[in-house]
């Protein structure tokens, strides 16, 4: 029984040294990512449903300490297993003081065994004092920076409730270059209410002028229970127009192609080989990662032939029945869990040596295979390679999903080059119809 399951096994909360989950984590042989969540922002954007909070400055110090502690535990459990990528996300990691950032990254370097040339990314947002922070991040081994620019239009930035203007974004980009970042991503949003295609083109012009290695372009989603959702419900803002968003997406696809970018994922483009985000690739390839911090998710696969890949109780390294558990009867192929979302609750539990986990699910083979498809097909070029699917799930892709593949192929939504299956350009636009074929 492990310490992980606070919500279902209160008596078992105390950390035990030799837990099964640790064993599974240590036993894995594939690449492993480490996600570090920083749940703080200078101000909460009205469309954002990430687990991040403004005005929690008084908790930064305690949080840094708890986070380092949780990382320390994981480092011990991994027992020397190599970590290939690290992603410092949030939130806005750069709101932390240089001392705090330093301690977090130091903990990463000292406690985990990082692969040679490991990718270490950090998110950042323009509009806060960054020159010093960027330089610090570089010194601490961060080699990829992802910046939330979102738009270069004043009206749009205002609508999005961003704390920065276009100038700030340009300055931040320069600062990042100056600090020595060669691998920089810029995030943009389109399909905003009242946004015109011209305005979108305008932002793209500027972005392409900057020529970052990596671009992420997201269609705005009105997430439930955000201020934006409230504005839309009450008519204070029109809803995003799907057709206009579709046009913007198509415009972006063709303009970026002309500018020499390769679209490697639904919303991600890269210029030049090797600049795709390796950490995010772990997600899309349905591989393994450990997430630390409040609300952070983790995903591990049971080593093939391990005791874990069996039915019933043994598929739960945690034991007991817990909310959020799915597929308890079927053999588990993988396990996913996440920490409590609240920052204070997280700190309290970690400091009390209790498990911060509040949700977990054992993923039966079929569900895991479905996830491999729904995630892998997002990779526009790579798709889902037959060989990798089989190695991962112990059965050929066709055996698992033959009829669905045929149907989607006949419908012109999927294609195959003999090595992989992937979305056609039309399939890309209606990806959900494709993905949903593979889920339960």
């Amino acid at each position: 029984m492990s310490f992980l399951f606070t919500s279902c096994a209160p008596k078992e909360r105390r950390l035990k040294a030799n837990d099964r989950l640790g064993w599974i984590a240590a036993a894995g042989e594939g690449p492993l990512g480490l996600y570090i969540h920083i749940p703080f922002c200078a101000r909460k954007c009205p469309y954002c449903d990430f687990n991040t909070y403004a005005r929690l400055d008084p908790l930064y110090e305690a949080y840094t300490q708890a986070l380092c502690r949780e990382m320390g535990r994981w480092a011990a459990r991994l027992d020397g297993r190599t970590v290939d990528t690290v992603f410092l996300g949030g939130g806005t990691p750069t709101v932390l003081s240089s001392g705090q950032l330093g301690r977090i990254l130091q903990q990463v370097h000292e406690r985990f065994k990082l692969a040679g040339g490991a990718e270490i990314s950090s998110e950042a947002n323009p509009g806060i004092e960054d020159q010093g922070q960027f330089a610090l991040l570089r010194r601490l081994g961060v080699n990829r920076l992802s910046m939330g620019v979102q738009s270069f239009q004043a009206a749009e930035l205002e609508f999005l409730g961003r704390i920065h203007d276009a100038e700030d974004a340009l300055r931040a980009y320069d600062a990042a270059l100056e600090a020595g970042f060669a691998n920089i991503n810029l995030d943009f949003m389109f399909g905003l209410p009242r946004q015109s295609v011209e305005a979108w083109n305008d932002s793209l012009d500027i972005a392409l002028d900057l020529a970052p290695r990596h671009l992420s372009l997201y269609s705005l989603i009105v997430e439930p229970e955000t201020p934006l959702a409230h504005w839309v419900e009450t008519g204070q803002s029109p809803a995003p127009d799907d057709d206009v968003a579709a046009e913007m997406y198509e415009v972006a696809i063709s303009r970026l192609r002309e500018a020499g970018y390769e679209q490697y994922e639904v919303s991600n483009w890269v210029q030049g080989a090797g600049f795709a985000c390796r950490h995010n690739l772990l997600y899309w390839r349905n591989q393994e990662w450990i997430g630390v911090g409040p609300g952070a998710h983790s995903h591990l696969r049971y080593p093939a032939g391990s005791e874990g890949a069996s039915t019933g109780e043994r598929s739960f390294p945690f034991g007991g029945a817990c909310e959020g558990v799915t597929g308890s009867d079927a053999p588990a192929a993988a396990v996913r869990w996440s920490n409590v979302k609240g920052v204070q609750g997280y700190i309290r539990r970690v400091e009390a040596d209790e498990s911060p986990v509040s949700f977990h699910e054992a993923l039966p083979a079929e569900v895991s295979m479905g996830e491999t498809m729904m995630l892998g097909l997002r990779l526009v070029r790579e798709g889902v390679p037959f060989a990798r699917f089989e190695a991962m799930h112990g059965q050929p892709l066709r055996a698992a999903f033959g009829p669905s593949l045929d149907r989607l192929h006949d419908g012109g939504l999927l294609e195959s080059d003999g090595e992989r299956v992937r979305l056609t350009p039309r399939g890309l636009l209606v990806g959900n119809r494709v993905f949903s074929e593979f889920v339960a």
Binding site: D242, A246, H299, R336, G370, L429, N432, E437, A440
Partner: protein
Amino acid sequence: MNLDHIRNFCIIAHIDHGKSTLADRLIQHTGTVTDREMKEQLLDSMDLEREKGVTIKASAVRMIYQRQSDGEPPVDYEMNLIDTPGHVDFTYEVKRALQACEGAVLVVDASQGIQAQTVAHLLAAMELDLTIVPVLNKIDLPAAVPDEVAQDIEDLLAVPAADILRISAKDSVNIEEVLQEIVKEVPPPQGNAGEKLQALIFDCHYDPYKGVVAYIRVVNGTLSAPAALLAISSDKRIDPIEIGVLTPAPVKASRLTAGEVGYIATGLKSVQDLDVGDTVTLASDPAAEPLPGYEPMKPMVFAGLYPTDSDSYHDLRDALEKLHLNDGALTFEPETSQALGFGFRLGFLGLFHMEIVQERLEREYDLDIIFTAPSVAYRVVTTSGSEFLLESPADLPDASEIERIEEPWCSLQIYAPSEYIGPILEMVTKRRGRVVNQLWLDTKRVELSFQIPLAEIIVDFYNELKARTRGYASMDYVLQEYHASDMVKLDVLVNGHPVDALSIIIHRENAFYKGQRMVSKMKEIIPRQQFVVPIQAAIGNKVISRANVKAVRKDVLSKCYGGDVTRKRKLLENQKAGKKRMKMVGSVEIPQEAFMTVLSLEDE
């Protein structure tokens, strides 16, 4: 028990006038149920009844009432009470209950006065020569005008206003007097315990352990526990598991004699074996004749019923059979639809009845179902001279074969305060109704009589009437004759395919407007597909309205990272489950709710 000490009576009234509450008080007053077991509207045992605060099923209870009278020893009376529903759609239920009784307590709300079902149910009771015990209820209400209402009752019944009991069922005022009055006025049952057994089945329900349970009134003879029985009309042998009385919980009894009300647990597993209205007799010594049964109710409203998941067709049939046992007014026959597959055409007494059937199927039988638009039965006369009743628009022959279509008309009575005459006339004429009579009940209230096509009152008429009169009007209607009418079939075509389950028969004058409404509603409901989907409304080959559902251009989750996988997977799972529930017409996915749209068109 000596027949002289038995009283069989029901409580009748307009909806909400307090029948069930009075039943509660009588049950309590006679000590039939302990205080601990008591709850409001005890006899409304169905969840649905409790939730809606409305009685749907008549239900019986046996009470022992100890009558004290001056200078004499107390006497026990067996009082068999049947509480009845008040809603216009359940008049059938009331009529069956009346047939098992010698008397009826007519409850009138002292604040609302005589209403449509007060009169309708009273007339039904008088037709069967029942003794009427009028009571004025809710005298505790500040708005009560008992003197006025008593006068109205006097005019209606020729009972002196001063003799009418004034009670408050809520506050237990004058409950003993009600029992006294029943004993005094209602005659004891007539039957003869020595004759051959004749017991009338007035209701049934299906119990998973006891099989079909029949509720009976023993008219003649004696029914003793283990004897083999025979249902005369259906010629079905019954070996009862148990017999008993309702208190209101079933309690075993060893015998039921003439005049008494009780139940027989038949053990029959097949629900078609027994009919409400049949007569039970002894297998060894059968009575020659059955008792007069019930006139079968003619359903007024028809609608298609389909399982959302075609695998549950058999469950649906099973559920309908069981429900029918408990709801004799419900009729059903198999039908098929291209769009919806195998299902049934159901007949109902009204729209509220349909709503209740829908909810009972969903709750008591846990089924997911789709109803198509309700319709009345039209009479179609073909050019070859033959004639048939059309219950489903899909069965309408080609226009060239139709000589004429006749639609059912009914007479409609509306009772309302006079200030609402204007709005009522307006809504009735808008629905093709004609005024027949206007009768002043007193200085403030009128009874308006109309002739109106039945089709015009089945959908949402009652709600609109209530809305226009702030709830003060009540109505009753009786089906009359058929009249030739300019009816047309309105089809809805999706991507060029007519969707059979969406066709309706409608008066030509209303077709254009309805067609437009249906098209715009369908446009809202049908999700965007990968291609443009034209939607048209047409009469024959003539398209009267059209619109397009645009094609989806983009439908892809823009973000999916490590923290999103479970949530996004569930989103896709829901999307897929939603799709599974859609029906395919041609290559277009149509959500199930589309088939109900015609129902909701009036709501807006």
